[in-house]
């Protein structure tokens, strides 16, 4: 059991800097997820922690020990790869035994540990087979088994579910979460799928272009994203963005915004960090309401374009009409059973408590309506 931390970690590939000084503190037993678009450096960061990549400067600490110059073999961690990376010439049993043999454990211990992992992951009957004879999900289990069998301090996952079909992915997601509850070791998990990140993580690290954008619980990232990038990256469908036509600072905790000729609206968002330029309004598709709400709300007219009826939720894609923000693309996610038609004009309201404001350089202004629980 051990925490992991990095300080000013820099990774370069020739002239290209992949990671620009990463400072990160991961607590013992925490399930942490690195998420970001491709090229954000999330896998590179994981590989630096694993020791598979040489770092240019900075350090990696595992269990309070500087392991920056230690071989991957001696860092006391294990890893599950995207393509499983099972040894194809060995049976599953031999695959599971491999890390134990490398440590020089006697046969008796190896057999005991392999069979207990086999039981834990329900792969006992597969142990005699070769990886080629297994399905994707079964290979994934064996790969996880090989990683946990030596009871590592830290457990690394590099997009382990991306090769599985959607149904199996959800199943394995739940199983990995359960597994974490059982074995309680530190898990670092890389994914580009923000749903995986939101569902599994204790804390999420959002990366972009080799820099950390925000570290926080799924809840924090959803309600209080630090900037426009995190706000649009977390949540599906994406957060809607509309340029404000006018904006003035209200009192310490309010900002007044206007769109076209419509009456101006006071938002419970502090404007102190905003000095100059146009503000951008952000609101999530699922927060749009179709009846005028009791509290204050911003009103738009929406011309519906494409409608996706998913059953539990209906996604409506359309453009704003009848204000200066005309033609801005908007998505509405509706959880009622109303049947929407394409090519119609509808009224939508966004309650002010669900609004976000972003400065021209993408920073979030402080919201005074976020849930009080933290």
């Amino acid at each position: 059991m051990a925490g992991v931390s990095t300080s000013s970690l820099v990774k370069k590939y020739g002239a290209f800097t992949a990671l620009h000084g990463i400072d990160l503190e991961i607590k013992d037993g925490e399930f942490i997820v690195f998420v970001g678009p491709s090229g954000s450096g999330k896998s590179t960061l994981l590989r630096c922690i694993a020791g598979l990549e040489q770092i240019a400067s900075g350090s990696v600490m595992i269990a309070g020990e500087d392991v920056s110059d230690v071989d991957p073999a001696d860092r006391g961690l294990s890893m599950v790869f995207q393509n499983y990376a099972l040894f194809p010439h060995m049976s599953c049993r031999a695959n599971l035994e491999f890390p134990l043999k490398s440590e020089g454990l006697p046969l008796q211990d190896r057999e005991r540990m392999v069979s207990s992992v086999g039981k834990l992951l329900h792969i006992e009957e597969l142990l005699g087979r070769r990886p080629a004879e297994l399905s994707g999900g079964q290979r994934q289990r064996v790969a996880i088994g090989r990683a946990i069998v030596k009871e590592p301090k830290v457990f690394l996952f590099d997009e382990p579910l991306s090769n599985l079909d959607a149904e199996l992915r959800i199943k394995m997601r739940v199983e990995i979460t359960k597994l974490h509850r059982q074995i309680k070791n530190t898990i670092i998990y890389v994914t580009h799928d923000q749903v995986e990140a939101m569902t599994m993580a204790d804390r999420i690290v959002v990366l972009r272009e080799g820099k950390i954008e925000q570290v926080g619980t799924p809840h924090q990232l959803y309600f209080a994203p630090v900037n426009q990038f995190v706000a649009t990256f977390i949540g599906a469908p994406q957060m809607n963005l509309i340029n404000c036509d006018s904006a003035i600072r209200g009192d310490a905790k309010t900002t007044i915004v206007g769109f076209g000729d419509a009456p101006k609206t006071t938002l419970p968002i502090g404007g102190f960090e905003w000095t100059d330029g146009d503000l951008t309004l952000g609101f999530r598709p699922e927060h749009v309401v179709l009846k005028e709400p009791e509290g204050e709300a911003i009103h738009f007219r929406l011309r519906t374009d494409v409608v996706e009826h998913l059953g539990a939720v209906t996604n409506i894609y359309g453009q704003i009409s009848g204000s200066s923000a005309e033609h801005t693309d908007i998505t509405v996610a509706n959880h009622t059973q109303i049947y929407f038609q394409e090519g119609k004009e509808i009224d939508i309201w966004v309650p002010v408590v669900d609004c976000h404001l972003f400065t021209p350089d993408g920073k979030s202004l402080k919201r005074y309506t976020v849930p009080p629980s933290w």
């Binding site: 694993a50 598979l52 961690l77 294990s78 990376a85 099972l86 040894f87 890390p99 030596k150």
Partner: protein, 283 residues
């Protein structure tokens, strides 16, 4: 109907190709069992009284003076053994030197890597005759002339570039993740190579070894110039062409014998040879 006629046509074409390819070999096989008189008969004899005399002459089993050729001594077993020693030795040396080189070319990045790889392959471009005269003088000078060691060494010109390039391609076919997984499982570099990389390379290397063994076995020019007593089988066959004597049936028998060793090896490693021939093409 239409597709049936096409398939018939294709079958006929295949039969023609098989006939063209097989004819010389069948002809040699037949000649090797003929009496000297039958070899040159016209029209060619397809039915004849087979004899083992040619093979007996080849291995000097027939009693001196009892053959059609008078008393000649041919010790054909000697060049066959020489060829086996030289070719197998050359392949083994190439594997020992070439597989690590191929691994390095596949897995490490260093300056001038591609140039080096091309340079290695470049040995295959040079006509052997170009290097053979200086080699002759050099071998005479250092005492490698007519030695197995010298031959195994100079055969690296043929076998080593192929082994390096083939093993490079096979290593590139092994996902790097597998080696990384082994490293994270606690295996040291040497263990990764022995327990993971080599077992995965084995089928490819068996095929590649067979392939370069054939190249080595068939080589003629190097043995002709650089050996006297320890000649390989290809050169020994030439020496059978004794002017003034009708030696064709004996040469044919020699050819058949020289084919036996590679054929045995191919039968042993047939499954792997396919992979050796189509290296890199199947990903």
């Amino acid at each position: 109907m239409h597709s049936r006629s096409i398939s018939l046509l294709l079958n006929v074409l295949v039969l023609i190709v098989v006939f063209v390819l097989a004819f010389p070999i069948v002809w040699i096989l037949m000649n090797s069992f003929k009496q000297a008189a039958d070899v040159n008969s016209y029209p060619p004899a397809f039915f004849f009284q087979p004899t083992l005399e040619n093979y007996k002459v080849l291995f000097d089993i027939a009693e001196a003076g009892a053959t059609n050729y008078g008393t000649i001594k041919i010790q054909f077993l000697k060049p066959v053994t020489s060829s086996v020693i030289i070719s197998v030795g050359a392949v083994l040396l190439s594997l020992i030197a070439g597989v690590p080189a191929g691994y390095a070319l596949a897995r490490y990045n260093f300056q001038g890597k591609e140039d080096l790889a091309f340079f290695i392959l470049g040995f295959r471009f040079a006509p052997v005759l170009l290097v053979i005269i200086p080699m002759f003088q050099f071998f005479q000078a250092v005492g490698l002339y007519d030695s197995y060691l010298g031959m195994i060494w100079v055969y690296q010109l043929i076998t080593l570039p192929m082994i390096i390039w083939l093993s490079r391609s096979y290593v590139e076919d092994i996902p790097l993740e597998i080696e990384e997984a082994a490293a994270i499982c606690g295996a040291k570099r040497s263990q990764i190579i022995i327990k993971v990389v080599l077992p995965l390379l084995r089928p490819g290397l068996v095929g590649a070894s067979l392939l370069v063994f054939l190249l080595a076995w068939h080589n003629f020019a190097l043995g002709l110039i650089l050996t006297a007593k320890n000649t390989p089988v290809t050169v020994a066959l030439l020496k059978l062409l004794n002017p003034g004597v009708n030696f064709y049936p004996v040469v044919s028998a020699g050819l058949v014998v020289s084919m036996i060793v590679p054929i045995c090896l191919i039968l042993l490693g047939q499954r792997h040879l396919e992979r050796g021939l189509t290296f890199g093409a199947l990903k």
